[in-house]
């Protein structure tokens, strides 16, 4: 194929095309936009990425990503240290933080158990969770994993591992989402919602 740009630009396009949401065509447009806005975008982006590369680390306590270890959330004295919310990925932690729904600590598992993918308990941060939950002062562990077969399998496994500790365990409710129409919900969600009904 005839080359239309230098190898550096081709490489930039190839790397951008690996990002989520970008295909080869949109990566080409993004690369062109960066090149056209060299001072306004390309240079700050390069600096930001270099900073991230040098400073971003994984919190040894909770598994969150941050520029310090322990992370900002783990160091925050206003957080309730007696409750730990367990999530699958950092993206889930960010979603809960965006919602402002949680004021306790977090624990990121790094995935779910999966027979298909060959992911076993030792591949996840479960041993560390058990260690944290065993610390004095921890009263409750909330399992905020996805409502999928793999997510719930992981949740049941963790509950089993925590059963000998003196901590309460809970999980997120399943039910009708805000703005959801019953006609469009699957039977599983409807059944769970009906079972979990509350006095009105």
């Amino acid at each position: 194929m005839r080359r239309t740009t230098g190898p550096e630009i081709e490489r930039l396009i190839q790397v951008l095309a690996k990002l989520p949401g970008l295909g080869p065509r949109s990566a080409r447009r993004a690369a062109l936009h960066l090149i056209k806005n060299r001072e306004k975008l390309l240079v700050p982006l390069t600096t930001a990425m270099e900073d991230a590369r040098d400073k971003v680390t994984i919190c040894s306590d909770c598994g969150n990503v941050d520029t310090s270890d322990p992370c900002t959330l783990c160091r925050d004295p206003r957080r309730d240290r007696s409750i730990i919310c367990v999530v699958e990925e950092v993206g889930d932690l960010w979603a809960l933080e965006r919602a402002g729904a949680w004021n306790g600590l977090y624990h990121v598992l790094g995935g779910t158990l999966s027979a298909v993918e060959g992911i076993r308990p030792e591949d996840l941060s479960i041993a560390r969770l058990v260690e944290r939950a065993g610390h004095e002062g921890v009263k409750e562990v909330v399992l905020a994993v996805n409502a999928t077969v793999e997510g719930q399998t992981t949740a049941h496994y963790i509950i089993d591992r925590l059963k000998d500790l003196n901590v309460a365990t809970s999980k997120l409710a399943h039910g009708v989402p805000v703005g959801g129409e019953l006609d469009y919900l699957d039977e599983g969600t409807l059944t769970q919602a009906m079972r979990a009904r509350r006095p009105f």
Partner: protein, 240 residues
């Protein structure tokens, strides 16, 4: 190429950002894979969960291609099962073990039996012995069926109590007495002569029996361990 068949979702793997590769045990065409475009959408995610019964339409230009699935939900069972640990363990075990079947080879008996177990999962006393029978059927379909009709030593069909780990054949109580510590226990319910529902210890014996031969003939040669969920079932039954 195009076909349409009902099937049970066994597994779903992410493909790119919006699509998924679904693995389905179909009623008449066996284990089949295909790409589901938009399989990671909000609408499709509840449908593409292991254990759900779907109507799958497979299309491809050539038979040997991966092909595309168009999936329509029939019975969404996964959502009803994920709340209870043992039901979920049974579902995970069934779907993981059904993936041991060769691709595109019809196994209608395994499919029908799996549907029966999925229907029975809400009943905690019914599904465990069915799971043992299903695993025996799976071994049979994979070419490693056990001969539980007659004693390998005496030929009698009376009072069969053990199975030889070497041959996979039944052994009568008298013939096996001297070697009982080296033989596998044959639970009575597998011979169809037990009155009443089998107890947890019978089911554990059954799972030990099928587990031994699955490990030897299926998991071992493929270098994969038995599903973790299968161990949970045995541990749970042991505490009942």
């Amino acid at each position: 190429m195009e076909w349409k068949d009902e099937g049970i979702i066994l597994a779903v793997k992410r493909h790119g950002e919006s699509s998924a590769i679904a693995e389905i045990l179909t009623a008449t065409r066996g284990r089949s894979l295909g790409l589901v475009r938009g399989g990671r959408s909000r609408q499709m995610r509840p449908v593409l969960q292991p254990g759900n019964i779907v109507l799958a339409t497979w299309r491809a230009r050539l038979e040997e291609h991966l092909g595309n699935f168009a999936i329509e939900p029939m019975e969404l069972k996964a959502g009803l099962l994920i709340g209870e640990a043992m039901r979920l363990a049974a579902l995970t075990t069934l779907t993981a073990e059904a993936q041991l079947l060769p691709e595109r080879e019809p196994h209608p008996r395994i499919y029908e039996a799996m549907r029966v177990i999925l229907d029975a999962l809400p009943d905690a006393d019914t599904w465990p012995p069915l799971l043992v029978r299903w695993e025996l059927g799976l071994l049979d379909e994979l070419g490693f069926g056990l001969d539980l009709a007659r004693c390998a030593a005496t030929g009698t069909s009376e009072d069969l109590a053990y199975v030889s780990p070497r041959t996979g054949r039944a052994v009568s109580r008298d013939a096996g007495r001297a070697y009982h510590d080296r033989l596998l226990v044959l639970p009575q319910f597998l011979k169809g002569i037990q009155a009443g529902a089998p107890g947890p210890s019978d089911v554990i014996d059954g799972l030990k029996l099928t587990g031994f031969f699955l490990d030897r003939h299926v998991f071992g040669p493929r270098g994969v361990p038995a599903p973790e969920s299968r161990h949970w079932i045995v541990s749970h039954l042991a505490t009942r």
